[in-house]
Amino acid sequence: MLRYVISRVKSSIVVLLVVSIITFFVLMIIPGDPAQLILGTEATPEMIEDLHKAMGLDKPLYQQYLSWLVDLAKLDMGKSYVYGESVTTLIAKALPVTMSIAVLAMIFATAFAFLFGMLSAIKKNSFIDYFSRSIMQLGTAIPSFWIGMVFIVYFGLRLKLFPVSGFVTMSESFLGFLKSIALPAIVLSFGEVGTLLRIVRSSMLDSLMQDYMDMAKIQGLRAGKIYLKYALRGALIAPITIIGMQFAKLAGGTVVVETIFALPGIGRLVLTAVEHRDIVLLQGLVMFITSTVIIITLMVDVLIMIINPRIKSVERGE
């Protein structure tokens, strides 16, 4: 078990290195030059060259990469060209926004998926089953930016229930905070509900078909107790795995929602960094997001191994 975790951590570090190298060199290949972006339409070639020197961009690529790597080892991710602020600070400021939406979206999606997934499995082929299956299908088929636009107009403008853009910090006003993230979170949860609902429903169906369910029924236990105590417990593993994975994806995938609702999160920071060729900022963001995803995936895998040791050999492919 411990050996498995250690080997996973090792290979994760390799993955991170690979990702950082790819990011670095791709950014070097693509057109656009940070010095030129700073100097704008007034620049002469000599000015650009001088600024390159001042920024250290005239050194060979591998040297630039290595010095970045050395700084990273010292936990220094450097300063963004655009903002002149340290990358760590920028991430720290943007993270709460993205995390709040992602967490709230996951809460919405999980609550909805479990409620309707279970009902749908228990009352198979009933009206509620068809209803939740329709939601399941629509959830994955509706583009989040479309539903976002619709929500802004109806809930934001017509009914004036929610602010249409911007973020209110928790310390400013808790209520304002909830209101500012409610719409984005609902929009974000839309896509997740479909996936989760599907898993909850099918694993609940599996679980209901197990022998111990018949035993429980024969013993005359109350229906509610049967479903919650036995069936649900048996049906939990798959959804938990998916929740973990989906959450990891969400953490990096909020860019569209952040764009529509003008929220100052990680996703929009990524867009800004790419547009301004802010290599330092982008490198930091990529490292941060990828390691988050890897850590969550690892945690989920370990959790599953603890719950169900049989999976171990398959996962490792040995």
Partner: protein, 502 residues
């Protein structure tokens, strides 16, 4: 067990909704005292708050409230005293001496003196400064005494005074210079209270300001890249001032709750042409293209009519402007004939690179492409990021055509100097017809004679067409009706000092 937790969760979620729903009703503002906190929407994030280290207009719009310049400019293009009380220009025009105010303090409490001016202008001439080239002509800076400073130029530049009015010529204290991007220290009427990137920037009144103090307590600038959210926030009353897009004017206008102000920008939108291109080097082809472009339609589509047609590279607001619109008029039939004469009866294919972040140019370019297709010119549009535009189009000159804007100078020379045949600019007029005229304009001390020279240059450009000149778009602002004192300036900045609620 599980059931009750789930139930709790659901109840919690439902409660949240009902709370949010109830809370909406109690809007404030009954007989409240006059507001002193202004909220304005803006579309583009500043690139740090160090005016010497960026070329971004979004930075200057804000920093002009935090820093001061030696002289200021009014909305009527008049140069007025600011940090300098008075100035004196030597007989030959090569020396300029400023007398400074002696009651100015930086935000950190230190007195501003002549050596700060020296430091700031030198810093503006650094390698890292995008504007260094503009100030290269200043060869000597002399601190005469604590409140007198003298600049000497290498060549005569008759517009030298104006170069001290631009927001990038801001005066900064040496001790704070390293961190100005995030911790700006100036002498201005406002200080930076808080900046949360991608979200908002709050300015706070400077109570030690030397002049009339700002009427507002705070100015909160909220970043909203999206025009729809912007208008929505304005209609909801969350925003006091917003920039409007042309299509939105109809929504705001006619509503007694709102005011709309609009001024022509000090800018030109042009379709630049690569005159090294085999076909496009032909003057007749360029003239044919100009005749095929219906500028009114371009303005209608990109600015919803909020723009003025131009025929050359100066905006109608410029004191040196000369109307060249009738030199080449819209006439698609004649355009076809000209193409035939030039030997391209069957048309040809060209590329058009459009800068993604500028909807105005992307929209304008699409309309032009459609119009050119009608005389047989097939335009392939490629939308590229601003960074790519700068390096490929502007820098490496790898393009056929592009639509872009050139902005914001107080003197015509700065607008037109890119047409020098040896300027190495992406639209320089390589045949050299304007070289000598530009030289003369920069040396001519008589303003009327200068205007004559600029008239001639404008006519040459209108005929030779190194670019096709499209329009001067307008800046449109929407204000809540209780907001007063907001003005639009010939340089892209806001001045919040005079803004107040009534």
């Amino acid at each position: 067990m599980k059931n009750s937790k789930l139930l709790l969760l659901i109840i919690a979620v439902l409660m949240m909704f009902s709370i949010t729903a109830c809370q909406q009703e109690n809007t404030p503002d009954d007989a409240a005292p006059i507001k002193t906190d202004l909220t304005m929407g803006y579309t583009t994030e500043p690139e740090g708050l160090d005016p010497h280290r960026t070329a971004a207009a979004s930075t200057f719009a804000i920093t002009n409230n935090i820093y001061d310049t030696l002289v200021g400019v009014t909305s009527d293009w008049e140069i007025v005293p600011r940090l300098a009380k008075e100035w004196d220009i030597s007989e030959n025009g090569m020396e300029i001496t400023f007398k400074l105010r002696d009651d100015v303090k930086f935000h950190n409490g230190r007195d501003m003196k002549a050596k700060d001016i020296e430091f700031s202008i030198k810093r503006l001439k650094d390698v890292e400064s995008p504007r260094a080239r503009d100030y290269a002509n200043i060869k000597d800076i002399e601190v005469v005494d604590d409140y007198t400073i003298k600049f000497t130029t290498e060549k005569l530049d008759v517009e030298l005074l104006k170069s001290f009015a631009y927001p990038w010529a801001a005066i900064v204290p040496e001790e704070a210079a390293a961190d100005l991007k995030t911790k700006p220290v100036g002498t201005g009427a406002f200080t930076l209270k808080e900046w949360i990137p991608q979200q908002q920037l709050v300015l706070q009144r400077n109570d030690n300001y030397y002049g009339d103090k700002a009427k507002l307590e705070t100015v909160k600038l909220v970043l909203l890249p999206d025009a729809t959210s912007m208008l929505a926030g304005f209609q909801a009353g969350d925003l006091d001032i917003i920039p409007l897009t042309g299509d939105q004017v109809t929504v705001v206008e006619g509503n007694a709750e709102y005011k709309v102000i609009s001024e022509p920008m000090n800018a030109v939108q042009i379709m630049s042409i690569n005159t090294n291109h085999e076909i496009l080097s032909n003057e007749k082809v360029r003239q044919a293209m100009a005749m095929a472009i219906n500028k009114k339609e371009v303005i209608d589509a990109s600015m919803f009519g909020y723009g003025d047609q131009i025929g050359s590279h100066l905006p109608p607001t410029s004191p040196d402007y000369f109307d060249t619109n009738d030199i080449i008029e819209y006439n698609p039939d004649k355009a076809k004939e000209l193409l035939k004469e030039a030997g391209y009866e069957n048309g040809f294919d060209i590329n058009m690179s459009l800068p993604k972040n500028y909807q105005l140019h992307v929209d304008g370019g699409q309309v032009i492409a459609d119009q050119l297709s009608k005389i047989g010119i097939n335009v392939n549009i490629e939308i590229i990021e601003w960074g790519t535009w700068l390096s490929d189009v502007y820098g490496a000159k790898k393009f056929d055509t592009t639509v872009v804007g050139h902005t914001g100078r107080l003197d015509s020379f700065a607008f037109l100097s890119r047409y020098y045949s040896n300027s190495n600019d992406y639209i320089s007029l390589k045949t050299g017809e304007v070289d000598e005229l530009l030289d003369r304009a920069q040396q001519e001390l008589d303003a009327d004679k200068r205007t004559e020279i600029y008239k001639e240059i404008q006519e040459i450009l209108a005929n030779k067409l190194p670019a096709i000149y499209l329009q001067t778009p307008r800046t449109i602002l929407a204000l809540q009706k209780n907001v007063d004192g907001m003005e639009i300036f010939p340089i892209d900045f806001y001045d919040f000092k005079e803004v107040y609620f009534n």
